[in-house]
């Protein structure tokens, strides 16, 4: 394999991994607190749509990003109402939210942007880091990316700090394992779960905005097309750890990017479909405990009722 091809492969793997990583790290926070958000897909889609809408109306990518976060946070708040306030089935309400968000963004997109999408918005360009981008091979792959790619490791650090270096994080992780004990200690299970679901919403919105504001500067119906489910799989494959989740997303990014680059590499014995299903197979292996013990939070999907 020559360098040019390797650069293309690595660059696209990292570009594809970034939105997954942002959303998956957000979802990790919720799951640590005992909440499973199948609506992660809906949050990302709402983020992608909000980003495009804000940018379309104001012409400013920054305001687009703000709108993206508002939209995804709204979906997260709704999920919180169902999971935390109403103690509804988290899976059912998550699927319901995904379907409703898909329907609403499709309708809104046609009403506002018109039937023949084809519109473009300003969006964010690539940020070239001077000096580092000139490094051989990995320089261009790592340091000529959109701002979202650089944001991903920062978000990973922030979330690791939140989970493992703060008292809120301690209560949050305990709420996912022993909610009764947290309640007895005087901390609020409900409170930390709300914190968790809103963090998820913001991170997923950031991830969703990558699609409309950075990858291509427009919105298409069902733009995220399952990225949220892939991010959910990444949390499982990452065995509910920050580092594991990051690695899982990178693996998924490489698999997705290979699927586009394989023909260029002259490999035709490996069907692209196999690579696309690889993340789901890996997650399945992980959740079956076949790649080491599985350690989901014990109170995952269990509503808390004082």
């Amino acid at each position: 394999m020559n360098d040019a091809l390797l650069i293309v492969l690595a660059a696209s793997a990292i570009r594809l991994a970034a939105p997954l990583m942002l959303a998956a790290l957000g979802e990790l926070v919720s799951e640590k607190a005992g909440l499973l958000n199948l609506s992660l897909e809906g949050m990302m889609l709402a983020g992608a749509f909000g980003g495009a809408l804000g940018c379309y109306l104001t012409g400013s990518p920054v305001l687009g990003l703000v709108t993206a976060l508002l939209f995804s946070a709204a979906v997260a708040a709704l999920q919180g109402v169902f999971s935390i306030l109403l103690r509804a089935n988290q899976i059912v309400s998550g699927i319901g939210l995904n379907i409703a968000v898909l329907g609403l963004t499709t309708i809104a997109s046609r009403t506002i942007f018109g039937r023949n999408a084809g519109f473009t918005i300003p969006g964010f360009g690539k940020v070239v880091i001077p000096g580092l981008a000139d490094l051989p091979v990995m320089g261009p792959a790592l340091f000529m990316q959109s701002g979202f790619v650089y944001a991903a490791p920062v978000v990973a650090l922030l979330i690791a700090t939140l989970l493992y270096r703060t008292t809120a994080g301690l209560a949050l992780r305990a709420a996912g394992n022993e909610p009764r004990a947290v309640d007895k200690s005087g901390a609020s299970v409900i409170g930390v779960r709300w914190l968790a679901v809103m963090v998820t919403g913001l991170a997923a919105g950031l991830g969703g905005a990558v699609y409309s504001l950075a990858d291509i500067h427009t919105f298409t119906e069902n733009m995220t097309s399952g990225a949220g489910y892939l991010a959910l799989a990444a949390v499982i494959f990452g065995r509910w750890r920050v580092g594991g989740t990051v690695v899982a997303c990178l693996v998924f990014g490489v698999a997705s990017s290979l699927q586009f680059q394989l023909p260029a590499l002259g490999v035709d014995f490996l069907p692209a479909a196999l690579l696309i299903m690889l993340p789901y197979l890996l997650a399945l292996l992980a959740v079956s405990g076949l790649v080491g013990p599985q350690s989901p939070p014990r109170a995952l999907t269990v509503p808390f009722d004082r």
Binding site: G103, T106, I107, V287
Partner: protein, 351 residues
């Protein structure tokens, strides 16, 4: 004393109430979007029940949804949430197509040419779900996560099958040959009751009766309910939780697999990537709404079958996006999820 609030609560806490609320919201959405609401509604009605053809197509849709819904309530009886109907349908359609195209089943007498692919499809869907049951028993894997992941794998297996020349892709006769399978032979196609309504509809009615009887009047059904209500107590009383879990997932998935086979053998006649187009998830909703009742599954399946047809008609004739119907379905699910809370609160309140 019954207050207005109580009545409202009770109304909203029933599935019917949830559906009515969601449909009302959908109607409001429609009136905001349609240039003319009467025109949109008439297009909707035309698409759903306007012609004998429309009715037949809607009933076929309902049959598919009913099978997935029946599978859902069966597993749910044992407190297992099978959300993988989409994947079980995909496997059913895939294997039914493979048997119809790649074996000599079509030359067999007594309608075996139709029955064998359908049974193989059912078995494939059943095994796909049983895999999730097995993982649950052996590794403690949450079936919600595994059935969902298995659905994605199945989706891409179908995609792979119709893109690979070595598998089911039709011969490339021209540059326009699509990545789809060939049409299945006519010996594998379901007979028509009244075109386009196919005989699979009768099988669905029969299976609804079977599921009803199994759940309400058989020892196996009682055992499912026992592990559903209290797995620990059921285990102490000597029931084989593992066997029942795998068995009921097999049965649940088989109904989904049969739904996939019927879609191919009754309507589409060849395999395409993504041919299940969300019916598995709609069927899951039907199962949820029915709250464990087989007759209610049929009712809600009909409602959703007609809704889908109406939505398509509305999009074509009145230019209202069928996403309105999608949104309505999402709202129905959310309303049902919320209704559960009201019901629980009611149950807790002293009489």
């Amino acid at each position: 004393m019954t207050t207005m609030g109580d009545i409202l609560h009770r109304f909203a806490a029933s599935s019917a109430g949830a559906v009515v609320l969601a449909l009302t919201a959908g109607l409001l959405l429609m009136s905001a979007l349609a240039p003319s609401l009467p025109a949109a509604l008439s297009a909707f009605a035309q698409g759903a029940v306007g012609t004998p053809y429309a009715i037949g197509a809607s009933v076929n849709r309902a049959a598919v949804l009913a099978l997935v819904g029946l599978g859902f309530i069966l597993a749910f009886r044992a407190n297992l949430t099978n959300i993988g109907g989409e994947g079980q349908m995909a496997m059913g359609g895939l294997i039914a197509t493979a048997v119809a195209l790649r074996t000599d089943a079509g030359t067999l007498p007594l309608g075996l040419g139709i029955v064998l692919p359908a049974l193989a499809g059912g078995l494939a869907g059943g095994l796909w779900a049983a895999l999730a049951g097995w993982l649950k028993v052996k590794r403690g894997t949450n079936e919600v996560i595994s059935t969902l992941l298995l659905s994605f794998v199945a989706w891409w297996l179908v995609y792979w099958s119709v893109h690979s020349d070595a598998l089911l892709r039709q011969p490339r006769t021209s540059s326009t040959s699509l990545p789809e399978s060939e049409d299945i032979p006519s010996s594998a196609i379901l007979g028509m009751l009244s075109a386009p309504m196919h005989q699979g509809v009768l099988a669905v009615l029969a299976l609804a009766v079977v599921v009803y009887i199994v759940m309400a009047h058989t020892v196996w059904g009682m055992r499912l309910q026992a592990i559903g209500l209290n797995a620990a107590a059921a285990r102490r009383s000597g029931l084989s939780i593992g066997g029942l879990t795998i068995g009921v997932m097999l049965a649940s998935g088989a109904l989904g697999g049969l739904a996939g086979a019927f879609m191919i053998q009754g309507e589409q006649y060849n395999l395409k990537a993504g041919f299940t187009s969300g019916y598995g998830f709609d069927g899951l909703v039907v199962g949820l709404l029915a709250r464990g009742s087989a007759p209610a599954v049929l009712l809600f399946a009909l409602l959703f079958g007609f809704l889908r047809s109406g939505g398509i008609g509305m999009e074509i004739a009145a230019g209202v996006p069928s996403a309105v119907v999608l949104t309505m379905q999402g709202l129905v699910i959310l309303a049902v999820a919320a209704a559960e809370f009201l019901r629980l609160r009611q149950a807790r309140r002293p009489a």
